[in-house]
């Protein structure tokens, strides 16, 4: 170590090791990431205003107080049936015996029975030869009993639709009406049917607890899914985000800013949280204390235009307002405040920050408190 050139080369070599690990390999690995979400859809690049908004976020150093990294945590599973088997032979044992079978699943079986009876009746009616009135009558009666069974369950519409969804049958208009379902389903109802699922476990289960059940369901050819549920996951339980933040959340960022500190809340899913009107978000950025709430976020008044107005002048409709105790007024009394292009861009950027859709490497995790699997069984 007495030759400077040797030291120099050694230094270069040693430095290049951490360079390799922290710069080169990540650039190769993360640079090769694709936007594919694994379900046929893809992450969308940030465009237009939102793209410019990222620059406003950077310029003003919002990232010192706000992170965009929802951390991971412990989770367990809920086992959910999404479709009964096609032959209708089972699920009892998997679920826990007929007496324990959940009302919705029972109802789903009844729907299947209705559909079967209706099919049988149709076949009888459609027969060209050997048509027998007795058989038709019997079929009609069978269908009527099946329908009666369905109605006797006295489930509400939502549960009925769920049951219909799980049963996998589709009823025609008349039959729907007979069963007490609407003839034409609206969009939400259709969604309910399409995404129907019933949870058959209570609480949060670890894989070892449900492995046997899963095997039985598989054997019965029922369709099911394992829904992850947060068990000890502060960021999820505190509604910081819907899932863990992963590298692909930064895929389209011109400047990745995962954030330094959480003086303010984590913003990884702020787009999903900003459900109020744009006005409220602007009012918050203009003056975080405008609603009277204590806040240590700095006001960003310079991102807004201010125009003095007189007492009797009406506030322009575009002006930003706050409503305090039912009294709606300008955020800055005496002024009409409107967002500049930068403020609009910033808001568009904030709205683009979302982690409310699943990625294969980061599934949406349910919040434990909201899972009423335990209460449902009681």
């Amino acid at each position: 170590m007495n030759k400077a050139p040797l030291v120099f080369l050694g230094v270069l070599f040693t430095l290049s090791l951490s360079w390799w690990g922290m710069v080169y390999s990540p650039a190769i690995q993360l640079g090769g990431e694709t936007p594919d979400k694994g379900d046929g859809t893809a992450l969308k690049p940030r465009v237009g205003l939102a793209r410019q908004g990222e620059q406003v976020y950077r310029e003003n150093g919002c990232y010192y107080c706000h992170t965009r990294t929802a951390t991971g945590g412990q989770f367990g599973y809920k086992l959910q049936i999404t479709r009964l088997d096609l032959n209708g032979t089972i699920t009892d044992s998997a679920i826990g015996g007929a007496d324990k079978m959940l009302p919705v699943i029972k109802q789903a079986y009844r729907f299947k029975a209705v559909a079967k009876a209706a099919d049988a009746l149709k076949t009888e009616l459609g027969k060209t030869e050997g048509k027998s009135d007795a058989a038709i009558k019997a079929a009609k009666e069978a269908k009527a009993t099946a329908v009666k069974e369905v109605k006797s369950a006295e489930l509400n519409l939502e549960k009925n639709l769920k049951a219909l969804g799980i049963s996998g049958v589709s009823l025609d208009k008349d039959l729907s009406l007979e069963c007490g379902l609407p003839a034409e389903k609206n969009a939400t109802q259709k969604k309910l049917v399409a995404n129907a699922q019933v949870t058959i476990t209570s609480g949060i289960k670890q894989w070892s607890d449900i492995e046997a059940k899963v095997k039985k369901l598989k054997a019965a050819k029922a369709r099911f899914r394992l829904q992850p549920v947060a068990s000890d996951w502060p960021d999820r339980q505190n509604l910081v985000a819907m899932r863990q933040s992963v590298s692909r959340d930064f895929l389209f960022d011109a400047h990745a800013m995962p954030g330094v500190m959480r003086i303010g809340p984590d913003l990884s899913n702020v787009g999903g949280r900003l459900i109020g009107a744009d006005n409220d978000a602007y009012a918050h950025i203009y003056n975080p204390q405008s609603t009277g709430k204590s806040s240590h976020m700095p006001p960003y008044r310079y991102l807004f235009h201010r125009k003095k107005i007189t007492e009797d002048e009406a506030l322009p409709t575009t002006a930003i307002t706050v409503t305090i105790k039912g009294d709606k007024r300008s955020v800055e009394p005496g002024y009409a405040v409107t967002p500049t292009a930068k403020a609009r861009a910033l808001l568009a950027f904030l709205k683009s920050l979302r982690t409310d859709s699943a990625l294969p490497e980061a599934p949406i995790v349910e919040q434990a408190a909201a899972t009423s699997a335990g209460t449902r069984e009681k």
């Binding site: 430095l15 922290m22 990540p26 993360l30 010192y64 590298s247 959480r262 700095p298």
Partner: protein, 487 residues
């Protein structure tokens, strides 16, 4: 190897070769003085920035003074303004002394310093206008990093010529560190500039890159210069030999190897292997700490540092302790659950302050205390040497406050972030608690750096402007007054 005499390092020679000091005088004093100016800048902006967290409405109509821009500016002023200038100044002087040769091509140094300071100024103006890079810890706008690279190249050129003007000497370990610091800077800034600006890597890959650049700048660039000063001045002043070259060797290479890996947050949105690797590196960092501290402990063998009579030694002692504590806190990141608690709190900033002020600034100010008067004249001392002690006291107390508040109170904030169902107001106040307490520490930094600047001014005005300067007139007045009073 410790018994081989390293005659190029004037360990035992009391009289510093005047020719070397004279050759360094202009350029190095220029660097030191700029450093002092930037230090006040950094501390002032830091105080203003922290104040804004407590009083968010203060000066809120001006984008220049928004928290995010002040925060970026404070760090750029410290890292490039103060640390760059002071570090390069000390590097040049130490290299000349260690090689026993006068500084080669001082003109290049002056030109480089002008460029460097222009670069820092451009960076700060740019950040105020909204050009920060978005990488925490390396907020340089793109044009500024170009200027800084050229400026550093000028200064490094002079350093290299000085170095090669004499070949046959054994290298004192400080030289290794200095060479590493000269190489590391363009390597880090060049990579960051190239991969963030010229050919930017994609979104997520910028996260490890930014972390690597910011961490390496602190751990390797600053770490090397500061440690070079510590292992140069401590043996020199106590007139002993450095205990072992082998230990230094281990500490040096491990620092270079690990400095860029450590401290990645366990919650970073990155592939798991990167986080695990970084935790591993943080774990091995203990070796660096052990190697350096054992070596110096054995060198010192009972000589007190912090309670020493010699002020430079006290500065170096504090710097070394701060570096060790910072190193141990880095080591703590080997434990993911510790890091998980502190990662989003003020703690990381506090630890950075510990490193920046407690270690680096202390070692540099201590070195300047030793070097600056010698540059001007062989028998000269600081005009107001007593007051220089106060720099030490203020910064030391400030660092202690920042670290205790930063890590202790931030731990509570971290625990709150880790539990469920805490009200957002409570969370906010927990987040602010450490910053409130640390504010006091930052004010002390500001006071300390003002005294530093004042001392530098005194030294320069009194000794470079002749006896007819205002300063000496005032002194004369005062001394006559005192005499008059005594009569």
């Amino acid at each position: 190897m410790s018994d081989t005499t390293d005659s190029s390092a004037p360990i035992a020679t009391e009289a510093p070769p005047e020719a070397i000091n004279a050759s360094c005088r202009g350029p190095v004093l220029f660097l030191f003085f700029s450093a002092a100016l930037w230090l006040v800048d950094a501390a002032g902006i830091g105080v203003l920035g922290s104040f804004k967290v407590h009083m968010p409405g203060f000066l809120a109509d001006c984008p220049l003074f928004t928290y995010g821009r002040l925060q970026a500016n404070a760090w750029v002023a410290f890292l490039f303004g103060f640390a760059g200038n002071a570090g390069l100044g000390i590097t040049l002087w130490m290299l000349s002394r260690l090689r026993g040769m006068p500084l080669a091509r001082p003109g290049f140094v002056v030109a480089g310093t002008i460029l460097w300071n222009a670069g820092v100024t451009a960076a700060m103006v740019g950040i105020s206008l909204g050009d920060q890079s978005g990488v925490a810890g390396l907020e340089l706008p793109k044009y500024a990093s170009r200027v800084l690279l050229i400026g550093q190249a000028f200064i490094a050129f002079s350093a290299i010529l000085t170095y090669f003007s004499r070949r046959h000497k054994q290298l004192y370990p400080s030289t290794w560190y200095l060479i590493a610091s000269l190489v590391a800077f363009p390597w880090i800034i060049g990579t960051a500039h190239w991969l963030l600006v010229e050919a930017p890597v994609r979104g997520a890959a910028q996260i490890p890159l930014g972390h690597w650049a910011a961490t390496s700048l602190v751990q390797i660039w600053l770490g090397c210069i500061g440690l070079a000063a510590v292992i140069y001045f401590i043996p020199k002043i106590i007139q002993r030999e450095l205990y072992s070259r082998q230990w230094t060797f281990l500490g040096f290479w491990m620092l270079l190897l690990l400095g860029g890996w450590v401290n990645l947050n366990s919650g970073a949105p990155l592939p798991v292997w990167q986080i695990k690797l970084s935790q591993l590196a943080s774990g091995f960092f203990l070796l660096v700490v052990i190697a350096v501290s054992w070596n110096l402990r054995q060198t010192l063998k009972g000589v007190p540092l912090l309670s020493s009579e010699d002020l430079t030694l006290r500065f170096m002692g504090f710097a070394l302790s701060a570096w060790i504590v910072a190193g141990l806190l880095t080591f703590c990141n080997v434990c993911p659950s510790w890091n998980a608690i502190l990662q989003f709190t003020y703690a990381n900033t506090a630890i950075r302050h510990l490193f920046a002020w407690g270690f680096f600034a202390m070692s540099m100010i201590g070195a300047v205390y030793y070097v600056a008067p010698r540059l001007i004249g062989p028998t000269l001392d600081w005009p107001c040497a007593r007051i220089y002690h106060w720099i030490y006291r203020f910064i030391a107390v400030g660092v202690v406050i920042v670290v205790l508040a930063g890590v202790g109170m931030a731990y509570r904030h971290g625990l709150a972030l880790q539990s469920t169902g805490i009200e957002s107001e409570v969370l906010q106040s927990r987040a602010l608690m450490p910053m409130r307490a640390a504010f006091l520490g930052e004010v002390l930094f500001l006071v300390g750096s003002l005294i530093f600047l004042g001392s530098m001014l005194c030294l320069l005005v009194r000794n470079c402007c002749g006896e007819c300067s205002l300063m000496s007139l005032w002194r004369q007045c005062r001394s006559t007054k005192v005499e008059g009073g005594a009569k």
